[in-house]
């Protein structure tokens, strides 16, 4: 009888170890995949920029500096990421590129005739979409990474963390103050809608 209880207990523990281990591995793969998704979207952004620059170049001769800043930031980001840079370095390079792009868009706003040509507005839509995709890919990556980090530190899963070779992964921190700003939230309680 005692032996039976012991066997059942051992089986239960074994079962738990296997499922906890598999859970960690599955999360780890999700993190890796999440990072790949970011990579795909960053590449999309890098590919779009030469197009944009070519299109606006003619009309913006005297904004040479802004354009150059975008090109430099892009090339720098590509060269940094080609070497398989870590999360922090990539985040740094990309946030510089974001800042340069933001300035370029601010300048484009000042040229109505430029915006009126279909090509620019189309490119602008593509870049807006790409920026959103990068943000969502980053959000997805941070979500699964946080989950993975929490899981491997929590008791009792932390007991099998070594077995699964789980180490905490770096999150994509937002360095730019403008990017950190909380999105606008409308809290005005309109009449007729109870909150």
């Amino acid at each position: 009888m005692g032996l039976l209880v012991l066997l059942v207990l051992a089986a239960g523990v074994l079962f738990w170890i296997v499922s906890a281990y598999n859970g960690l591995i599955s999360l780890k793969n999700q993190v890796v995949n999440g990072w790949k998704q970011i990579d795909v979207q960053l590449k999309r952004r890098h590919d779009l920029i030469p197009n944009l620059v070519d299109t606006v170049k003619g009309a913006m001769q005297f904004e040479r500096e802004t354009l150059d800043a975008v090109i430099t930031a892009r090339n720098q980001a590509i060269s940094i990421e080609r070497g398989g840079a870590g999360v922090a370095a990539t985040a740094q390079a990309e946030s510089q590129l974001s800042a340069a792009l933001g300035r370029l868009f601010a300048v484009v706003e000042a040229y109505p005739q430029l915006k009126a040509t279909g090509n620019v507005s189309q490119l602008q839509e593509e870049l807006t979409s790409t920026e959103n995709r990068i943000a969502f890919a980053r959000q997805h990556y941070n979500d699964v990474s946080t989950q993975y980090n929490t899981k491997q530190q929590q008791f009792p899963t932390n007991l099998v963390a070594g077995l699964a070779r789980a180490t905490p992964v770096e999150l994509w921190e937002i360095t730019d103050a403008a990017e950190r700003a909380v999105p606008k939230v409308d809290l005005s309680l309109r009449p007729g809608v109870q909150a």
Binding site: Q41, F136, A137, V185, D186, L187, G192, V193
Partner: protein, 349 residues
């Protein structure tokens, strides 16, 4: 805390619900058929051997029909729904609006971690949207032209996020199956009504029933069986539709919450829902059978405005005001949390 686990159990639950639904559907048709055969056999007991109802014809036919419909619903259900709404697939976006839609869907797929579904537009002025499909790979998202015309980019994101949540939960599988089955049951029951209430059939039944009664004994059981069987026929369309409604109503709040999680912007979906609610016209291209698939009731029925048992029975969707206020609550908590977090960071540094 454990979103992935929750999501997994959601998918799992919907998968097993789908299997039970199919099993129940085929069994129901078997009961309709074989039950009828049994009644006819009991009635013709006293007849000479040649004219007894000893081959379960109805049972075989109806069970085959039920099984075939289930297989068809599984394999081709979403295609049939798409065809019935007259939607056009966007393969190469040609206008600015279409490009925007494709971009928004692809963005939200990145957020949801889903492959890109096929994208369809219905030429209907009323804002609405739905998703269908068997799984993530075969999923389709349909929006009306009216939605593209009325919603801003952020609002569109919220709506698409809601539909992708249905795909991610495997809600689409369950609801597509339900839509196909509601249709199949309606067809058969209409047909049966015509047979049962035709003059000729009634006369034939009238000729058989008294003779069965005379024998006594099994009369009560036979009568009970007959009543139960007829009730099943009469109530089948009603019950199947209520089932479809009940399933969909529960899923809407969850899909709203998941959309907010994808976009981190609950207010956009809230304002999209308000815009959809305010549009007065019913969505003409979406028929009754597919109503439960949509983000908002395409028929604009008043019952969806209320809570309570009547609405629980008949509404396809929870009241819009409740959905909007829940989303506002999420936005408020989100903002509060962000403010607290930034306060804590400031204290630490």
């Amino acid at each position: 805390m454990s979103d992935a686990v929750d999501l997994f159990s959601q998918q799992q639950a919907n998968r097993s619900r789908s299997h039970w639904l199919i099993a129940g559907f085929v069994l129901f048709f078997a009961w309709l058929g074989f039950g009828g055969d049994l009644i006819l056999l009991e009635m013709s007991r006293g007849e000479p051997a040649g004219s007894q109802w000893d081959v379960p014809l109805f049972g075989l036919v109806l069970t085959t029909y039920g099984a075939a419909t289930a297989v068809w619903a599984w394999k081709a259900g979403s295609g049939a729904i798409l065809r019935s709404t007259g939607a056009n697939q966007i393969t190469q976006p040609s206008t600015e609006q279409e490009r925007l839609l494709v971009n928004v869907v692809e963005e939200m797929c990145v957020a949801a971690g889903l492959p890109r579904p096929s994208i369809w537009i219905v030429a209907d002025g009323d804002p609405n949207a739905f998703a269908t499909g068997r799984d993530e790979q075969s999923a389709a998202i349909v929006v009306t032209q009216g939605l593209l015309d009325t919603c801003s980019r952020d609002e569109l994101q919220g709506v698409i996020g809601h539909e992708l949540a249905h795909i991610k939960n495997y809600d689409v599988r369950l609801m597509t199956l339900l839509a196909a089955m509601v249709g199949a049951i309606t067809v058969v029951s209409d047909y049966m009504h015509r047979i049962l209430f035709q003059r000729g059939t009634q006369r034939a039944l009238g000729a058989v029933v008294p003779r069965g009664r005379k024998k006594g004994g099994g009369g009560v059981v036979l009568a009970l069986l007959l009543v139960l069987w007829l009730l099943s026929w009469l109530l089948a369309p009603l019950i199947s539709r209520m089932l479809a409604l009940g399933v969909s109503r529960k899923r809407e709040y969850l899909a709203d919450a998941m959309s907010a999680q994808f976009t981190r912007n609950p207010m956009a979906l809230a304002s999209a829902l308000e815009k959809i609610e305010r549009a007065p016209a019913p969505t003409r291209c979406i028929t009754r059978g597919a109503a439960h698939l949509c983000i908002a009731d395409p028929l604009g029925r008043r019952v969806n405005l209320r809570e309570g048992w009547l609405a629980d029975l008949w509404g396809t969707h929870p009241p819009m005001a409740m959905r909007v206020s829940r989303l506002r609550g999420m936005a408020f908590r989100e903002q509060k949390r962000a403010r607290q977090a930034s306060g804590e960071v400031a204290q630490l540094t």
